[in-house]
Symmetry: D2
């Protein structure tokens, strides 16, 4: 099932600056082969729903392995049956 | 990996009232055996991260099979390595 | 205009534990006189839309004055014209 | 107090397609003079926190006046005291 998602990873307890951890999370999304749209409040992703959710799990596993103690991730994910969803088509 | 999550399913295109679809989504979470905390803006869930994310996928599959054309789900999911997270312990 | 909202305040840079800051934020909501429903992923609030949004601003001002350097708040807010919304009526 | 926000307006009960209402909401943000970054899951905004939250209220008022019965809006809003936040600087 094709999905569009927004993923925002918030590392908690690494300090005021979270840029390195957020970059690492984004790289996992890029390496997963999804179509990507980056913006100031997260990364938008186009791909299979199961693969997107699995990538979120791998982000948590990877960042925890890197020493991040606490992670809070906000995901918005949408699916529809009437037409193909693409990041491009969601442009107003 | 243990996680705490909040899941809010928004069916789009079924009308102003979305109660039946939201009930069906919640039932899938209950039937999955998670510890559950219901509230006005979603359902909080305690369980394995992979199982929680898989349940979200099954909610989309089930509601689409029921005829809902479009779904937008907001998920907040948190994990931590320093201690066990429970819905109970997150109480202030 | 009456609204129902969920407010989740995430202090960034205060350490892994954010309980004190989250308690302070919640107290501002309680002191504002809203009907409140607390849960593991935020505080649900019933009140006037303008008053709720103003309380969020006061939470940021107060926590910054307390020394919190960075705050990220997630708000869900809903309004409807067909009937009165209450936290109670949103129960499934 | 300067803030960065993401605003996602979800009209409920207008049908599967919500493009017209979302465009109208975005126009209110543009007309308010904020710096704007559009993406598939909302509109990112740079401006004064009070002005941003007031714009969200005006979006609800305007869309309800247009006949939208129910609105659910998701807002992420961030402030920090250590440096000026801009949409540009939040780029990874």
């Amino acid at each position: 099932m094709k999905a569009l998602a927004e993923i925002q990873v918030i590392p908690i307890g690494v300090g005021v600056t979270v840029r390195d951890q957020v970059r690492r999370a984004r790289q996992i999304l890029v390496d997963s082969g999804f179509k990507i749209e980056e913006h100031a409040y997260g990364t938008n992703v186009e791909g299979e729903m199961a693969a997107i959710l699995d990538a979120v799990k791998r982000i948590h596993e990877t960042l925890h392995a890197d020493g991040v103690v606490r992670l809070s991730t906000a995901i918005k994910i949408g699916t529809r049956t009437d037409k193909d969803s693409t990041l491009e088509s969601k442009r107003l």
